[in-house]
């Protein structure tokens, strides 16, 4: 396998959170608090502020019930994925108007280059385009979710 073809998400751990909120801001807050609980972030308020600013750059909802919020921050201790699930859906300003059932937060250290950051997001987005992947992510545990997010295991 060529280096460029190697899965890019595999070395980054993942956790799953059941989202209780119906608003995007509250859901992002819940994901950030989960990151703090997991020891992934030093300053939860700084992360929440950054996630809100990222949404002001344009919604992170991609359509088909998926949002892919992301942060590259000095407050992040180590790279991490947090999959937030909301079977009822959250209004996220998606281009197709559909509520978001899967909010997949990617946290990266600030030293990660913009190019690498975009590449990590692209890998996850590609996996999330598959309906089967999205459906399985709504029910599997964190161990099973990681290979799904890297485009395998389906």
């Amino acid at each position: 396998m060529a280096i460029a073809e190697m899965p890019l998400v595999s070395s980054t751990p993942l956790d799953i959170v059941e989202l209780r909120h119906k608003r995007r801001e509250s859901a992002l807050m819940q994901l950030a608090v989960a990151a703090r609980r997991l020891g992934v972030v030093r300053d939860v308020d700084a992360l929440v502020a950054l996630l809100a600013r990222r949404e002001r750059l344009g919604t992170t909802a991609l359509g088909k019930g998926v949002a892919l919020p992301h942060a590259r921050s000095i407050a992040v201790v180590r790279p991490f994925w947090i999959v937030g699930r909301s079977p009822k859906g959250i209004e996220w300003g998606a281009p197709d108007g559909e509520p978001v059932q899967l909010a997949v937060l990617y946290l990266a250290h600030h030293e990660q280059s913009p190019a690498t950051h975009v590449l990590r997001l692209a890998t996850a987005a590609q996996a999330l385009r598959q309906q089967r992947t999205r459906q399985r992510l709504l029910s599997v545990d964190a161990v099973a979710a990681l290979p799904l997010l890297q485009g395998g295991g389906s």
């Binding site: 030093r42 300053d43 308020d45 700084a46 502020a49 950054l50 600013r53 990222r54 002001r56 750059l57 344009g58 919604t59 992170t60 991609l62 359509g63 892919l68 942060a71 590259r72 921050s73 000095i74 407050a75 281009p95 600030h110 030293e111 913009p114 190019a115 950051h117 975009v118 590449l119 997001l121 692209a122 987005a125």
Partner: protein, 113 residues
């Protein structure tokens, strides 16, 4: 002592603006499917954040940003992650707290936790 969070927020916002203005990154983000609406609102937020900072610390931040491409650098195990010089024990923050420090070797503004 200066509050650390506004400086962290300024740093992270600058890195977000870098991502949002880099041609290759913007192209990549659009190919992923993101809708980007422009950076004007974020640039205004940056101005507000910067205006609220102590001028002396802002000057050090801006100097680090201009010289090294980022305004804030981490300290790990008492080592400046910009120039890798070991910092004096006496300058370390109390456990569990973060503070800002100026590296006497390279002049980078440091976030020390």
């Amino acid at each position: 002592m200066i509050e650390v969070r506004p400086v962290i927020e300024l740093h992270d916002l600058d890195q977000l603006l870098l991502l949002a203005t880099d041609e290759g990154s913007v192209d990549g983000l659009r190919r992923i499917g993101y809708t980007l609406v422009g950076t004007l609102a974020l640039v205004r937020e940056r101005e507000k954040l910067a205006a609220g900072l102590d001028r002396r610390w802002l000057g050090w931040y801006e100097r680090s940003l201009g010289r090294y491409g980022r305004g804030l650098t981490l300290v790990r195990d008492r080592v400046c992650q910009g120039c890798f010089v070991t910092l004096p024990t006496s300058a370390a923050p109390p456990p569990g707290e973060g503070h800002l420090h100026l590296c006497e070797n390279c002049g980078r503004l440091l976030y020390w936790t």
